[in-house]
Point group: C2
Chain length 379, copies 2
């Protein structure tokens, strides 16, 4: 009764951590959360009021499968303002979160057995989404020692007959690494189709991040509102695709998802027009940067060796083999002993058994207290 | 660059109609819409206020991938109250619309090449969702002459080695047919896994509809809030699965969609607790029934031969060969000449070339005016 596909899907190990953390919280323990991948900020009020306004206006029906034109135009204009690329709004397709955009992208380009290159470590879900589209994941190792840089020579070596595309993620989950301009440019010139997961764009500190669309149109850029605007529970994302793919993605969307939420899309317009264009977004990013510095300083002070500072997203991914060769075990020991949730590296990497991911999407005070507890426990 | 999958996806012919209808509207024409598959009612205010309340409370983050427990419990209790079946809430998984529940169901049970039986006519998206899961659709013809009844003998004849499941939809889109109790019972006893799309449940007139869960637990019931509660643009659905499948579906959901919307799920609780349990839902259903009678009476009066009255959903699917052997052409002629949108049968059926679908999810006045125009044109 059960398909081979779901039998082979990897569990999220962090979910076991989260569940145990919740048990402990229910028992009255005070847990510090470094394991979660979502901002702790409230969704900005401008966005909330827009949703409320449109619900009250009765804007609650299906929309066009491609999304509301006004939102598509805001997104296109935002890409133009941010990256200097002209993207016709006709190429923007609004989706239910960036996750479903990733699935639509894979289904649109992959035939069974086609290969996609990704980095190792990588966002936990990539191989599963690729396998749902019956593609094959091929991993390019990137190393802590040089800040998880992608080596274009290594990519070239791995291109075979079945290689259809490369999937890049900058800033990256779990490493926080931002791909250098020259590397992204080089990747775009290898004759491969590029899928660029740009969901952490905007969350960069002291550096600039490029959109793949600055270098090539033979690419799909995937993005969404969850991370930058603290809208994880709204389920709103989008993809910018080559003009000749629009109709294919649209047919898939019509059949699989119909459309993204209606008033949620209206709220997305205000996210771009009222939040991104205001000083508010700078305040949010500045706060993340402070937290980043606090986390890096704190982890370094208790013995973690952060070789290259991560410059984006809200994660630090660091070797923990000094304390244990089994970071899944170590994550549980940390949780049980000092009530700090951290994510074991195996969620993101075949080679991640002695790595931990620390999310700094939490307050400075929590970061200080969590690091203090970790320092005491790890000794 | 383009996968065979998307190359082979059928377009929605009705979308061409809709697009042209919108063009005509923009030119100032008054269009009557019998082509749309969504209720014209506003989402009930109890549901809207719940969403507003939870947005304002900042309930805007990811939820558990299975959904909020309180909503899962309301759904389980609703199935118990409505069908007398005890469904533990642990078996309820909240999804982003019932569309994604269908996809999750297919991915969970199908290996490449496995067959799924569906009726012909059928909801337009079924074969495409099945093909995304690399399954094969096998169609069982049902006929207007006996009210689109499924003949169990015909189903049995079509069961082969590769047949994994039957997908039923009662009340059905596009026919409005409700499967008789004894037929559904018989279908559940064929040794096939049953996927039951129950999205139009609640919208039945002068009859009762059964949930598949009254007859077997070797089934997935799929349902949602879009149709009964006029919540199409909210993207909220659910599936009730056998206990042993929960973990598999959950892993898929975590990887593909993360979770359904947060405040949207909270609003779903009020849909069940405040709307379904109040007199309000009866008023809505009574209004649909009046529209149904008006549409049937009207279409009959202008020469359509409605052999068996449809008892559910909000559609009438009827032969139009008296006027044309090509209902796609006919639908365009109707739109251009009398400004009434109707859906051509080919969207739902290989044999649907001389059928039209009329949706009565519109006001009595619109139904009267639309039928009047049709009568004039068809003569």
């Amino acid at each position: 009764m059960i398909s081979d596909l779901v039998k082979n899907i990897e569990p999220f190990y962090v979910m076991d951590i989260l569940e145990r953390a919740k048990q402990l919280e229910n028992q009255g323990r005070d847990i510090i959360h470094f394991e979660v991948g979502e901002p702790d900020f409230n969704t900005p009020e401008e966005i909330c009021s827009a949703a409320v306004k449109w619900i009250e206006k009765g804007y609650t029906k299906y929309t066009s499968s491609l999304g509301i034109n006004e939102l598509r135009q805001s997104i296109a204009e935002d890409y133009s303002n941010t990256y200097g690329v002209e993207v016709g709004y006709e190429r923007v397709i609004v989706t239910i979160g960036s996750s479903s955009a990733l699935l639509l992208a894979m289904l649109t380009i992959l035939n069974p057995g086609d290969e996609i290159l990704i980095t190792d470590p990588h966002y936990a879900c990539y191989p599963q989404i690729i396998s749902v589209a019956r593609g094959v994941t091929k991993k390019i190792p990137v190393c802590e020692s040089d800040g998880y840089k992608i080596d274009p020579a290594e990519v070239r070596k791995n291109i075979g007959k079945k290689t259809k595309a490369i999937l890049v993620n900058s800033p990256a989950n779990p490493t926080g690494a931002v791909i250098d301009t020259d590397v992204l440019c080089e990747l775009s010139e290898m004759g491969l189709f590029v899928i660029s997961d740009e969901i952490y764009h905007g969350l960069v500190y002291g550096t600039r991040v490029n959109s793949i669309l600055e270098f090539t149109d033979k690419a799909i850029a995937i993005n969404g509102f969850a991370k930058l605007y603290s809208m994880t529970g709204w389920r709103l994302g989008y993809m910018i695709v080559p003009q000749e793919l629009v109709r294919y993605v649209q047919k898939l969307q019509q059949n699989l998802f119909i459309s993204a939420g209606s008033f949620v899309q209206k709220a997305g317009i205000d996210a771009i027009e009222k939040v991104k264009k205001s000083a508010k977004i700078k305040t949010i990013v500045a706060e993340f940067d402070k937290r980043r510095e606090e986390m890096i300083k704190g982890l370094s002070s208790i013995g973690f060796n952060i070789v290259v500072e991560p410059k984006g997203a809200f994660y630090v991914f660091v070797n923990s083999s000094r304390w244990s060769q089994d970071s899944w075990r170590l994550a549980f020991d940390i949780l049980e002993n000092c009530h700090v949730g951290v994510t074991p590296g195996i969620d993101f990497s075949d080679r991640g058994k002695d790595y931990l991911r620390f999310s700094y999407a939490t307050s400075i005070d929590s970061i200080r207290e969590g690091v203090r507890r970790l320092g005491e426990f790890l000794g």
